[in-house]
Symmetry: C2
Subunit: 430 residues, 2 copies
């Protein structure tokens, strides 16, 4: 069902009308530095923004026991965020349409050395079409778009004719436990839309992600006796070498997986952190590496973790140094399975129409090689889980930026999608 052309034009104009305010709000969100564990203030801001618009509010903590018992839960560590999850609920007068979850995360990855940024990472500078800032693209732009897509309806006196949950979560960059917690809390709808920065495409398939740490310990000696000591940094690099072999094997397993076999390198192993040794003149006695690896949909994190553990244990047994004190492998973050969005759902069709209406282009879909919260809804709610959002550059990198023109198109498409998916009724007078 194509949208009435008059209504479509009114909606486009309404998004346009609120867009300056939407950008200003997105900039506010960027200013609220919200690296892992520091999302308290931004969640308060989000809570107030939603409450001021009249949504029914709930705010709740992670249930560690429930998360760790669930197959999609990731292990907790000392770094795990304690910030709350915030959900605002729109309830229609008449539950006539299809319900919807609009989800976004507020946590951002660390900015890294500030000197490598053109502008300070948490200053939301605009240059040309780009809005810069850590977490701007990933995903405060999308976070604000959830709110402003609904605002666009209100501005012209309308509201969704179905329940809409607006969910603001944490831990998307490290465990995925925030999204899982909304599921465990009982939130459920007929579809979910998460506006991650996906270059105006729909995610068709998505890998699972496993984080693990390998700690090597050895026998340090004075460097004058280097031959008799064991260098833990060198040993850690030997383990990295073995993990690269495992990565190649996992990539070779792409054969027969339609969403992956045409990708050159669908499985990425990233050694993201390393730390070792205490003193230049002491042979290093310890070294820790923090790794992240992706897994195909259908492979459980448990299976992948077991294979990683066994491979490192086998390698260590055959290594003259590592066999003395076997390396310690711990799983301290993402422990999640990937998903695939089966083509042909009604939700996808509605989004494709909305995308065409907003951009004039056909909606493309693709495979992404990073974790996405959509997996919770796809795997455990078994509902159409749509991940679709604006153009961006350098997410997780320096000078992360989101395209402002793209953000407007996406917000428009989201508005059209909501209208078509949920239906509309006259807005409740405030």
């Amino acid at each position: 069902m194509a949208l009435d052309d008059t209504l479509r034009k009114k909606l486009i104009a309404s998004v346009e009308h609120g867009f300056a305010e939407q950008i200003a709000y997105t900039q506010d969100l960027i200013r609220l530095q919200s690296v892992r564990g520091d999302e308290f203030i931004i969640q308060d801001r989000v809570f107030n923004e939603l409450r001021n618009r009249g949504y029914a509010m709930e705010r709740f903590d992670m249930d560690r026991g429930a998360i760790e018992r669930h197959p999609g839960g990731s292990p907790f560590s000392d770094d795990h965020s304690r910030a709350p999850i915030v959900v605002g609920t729109h309830r229609p007068r008449d539950e006539a349409g299809r319900s919807l979850i609009l989800q976004a995360h507020v946590d951002v990855v660390p900015p890294g050395p500030e000197s490598l940024w053109t502008h300070p990472p948490f200053e939301p500078v605009i240059e040309g079409d780009w809005l810069y800032g850590r977490g701007g693209a990933d995903m405060k732009a999308g976070h604000a778009a959830n709110l402003y897509a609904l605002d666009a309806l209100r501005r012209i006196g309308l509201q969704p004719a179905a329940t809409v949950y607006i969910q603001s979560v944490v831990e998307e960059e490290s465990t995925g436990n925030g999204a899982l917690m909304t599921h465990l809390r009982g939130y459920k709808a007929d579809a979910v839309l998460i506006p991650e920065p996906e270059d105006e495409k729909l995610v068709r398939a998505n890998v699972g992600v496993v984080w693990f740490q390998v700690e090597v310990r050895g026998l340090p000696v004075h460097v004058r006796e280097m031959g008799t000591g064991a260098n833990a940094i060198d040993a850690a690099y030997r383990i990295i070498g073995e993990l690269r072999i495992l990565e190649a094997e996992w990539n070779a397993r792409k054969a027969g997986r339609p969403n992956f076999e045409n990708e050159e390198h669908p499985i990425n192993l990233n050694v993201g952190k390393i730390e070792g040794g205490d003193w230049e003149s002491s042979v290093p006695a310890w070294c820790r590496i923090g790794c992240r690896v992706s897994i195909y949909p259908g492979v459980s994190a448990k299976e992948a973790a077991a294979e990683i553990e066994q491979r490192i244990a086998k390698f260590a047994r055959e290594d003259s140094f590592l066999s003395n004190i076997p390396p310690l492998v711990t799983f301290h973050g993402f422990h999640t399975e990937g998903y695939e969005l089966p083509p042909g759902s009604e939700a996808e069709k509605v989004l494709a129409d909305a995308h065409l209406g907003a951009t004039g282009k056909k909606l493309e879909s693709f495979m992404t090689a990073g974790y996405l919260d959509t997996r919770v809804y796809a795997l455990y709610d078994k509902i159409p889980a749509l991940c679709y959002g604006p153009y961006s550059q350098n997410i997780h990198g320096f000078d992360e930026r989101v395209s402002i023109a793209s953000l407007k198109r996406i917000t428009t498409a989201m508005t059209l999608f909501i209208v078509e998916w949920c239906g509309v009724e006259l807005a409740t007078p405030e």
Copy 2:
């Protein structure tokens, strides 16, 4: 001139007599945790111990300008110790003999993870013949021996018939600037003895040491775009590989160096520290390695540093990632030249006699592949610089320990050496 046998026996008995107190004092020194920068309290204790014995005291700071202008000075960094240097001076009534410097350092290397120690690193536990503890062997045992060798004379009513400077320095484990500062201050004598843990041997030759840091910076990206980003941890490892080639070349240059050509691997490059990356799911944007390499006597630190810089620069130019942002090489610690002790000096002969008198064995000499403060006296004072001390195990490692029996033999040998080198006179009444 062999020592009078009656006096020799009295001296041996006197060392024995004071030995329990000497061990207790050594244990006190171990308890005073004195890693780099934290040597204030231990230097106060040393000051008081020397002053209480009636030595003329001086306490002074590093003269950064003078050190950095001197060819044997190492660069200062933020980690450089600000603790004072302490010197106690014995002045005889009659300056009849040869003057002597007895030197020792109080700084110790970091203990590393405490869980890898059998006993806590700063608890001076005795088990059998071993006294355990970080810095016990290297070199609080020798530090105490300097004092107790002189005490052994006093106990029988004697004192050296020449000036003796008892010097307590810092920065031996990181720059060698403490010893250099005593030289710059003007302290000078006819010989120096430093009782480092040298397994009851005399150091014949000693390498120079250069510390350097290599910092790699890259362009981090989300791990989903790993191919387009550059992994700084991998790049650091490529640099380590190139440095290993340089190390092999330097080892090959041992040919024609009598004190080195029979050593299998005289030049050691140690990658002692590594740190890189901020987040498991971000391709690491930076990585720093802290290295230590040894150089042959006669090679200046400046020449070595230039060769390291040029080699890394050349390697980086040919590396597709590193050529974008060349790695930064900085020299932040040891920048010191090695030395050789020419055989045949009178000081060596006196020490050999003393060693024979204390141990019944011929004094052996050897090359050590680690930095020694003796280089200051050998290179810049051009005096016989004797480095000779007790048996030890695992210095710079876990469960560092010094042999108590060996320490007694060494203290005795030092006492006999002082008597023979300086001559003796009746002790000044207190």
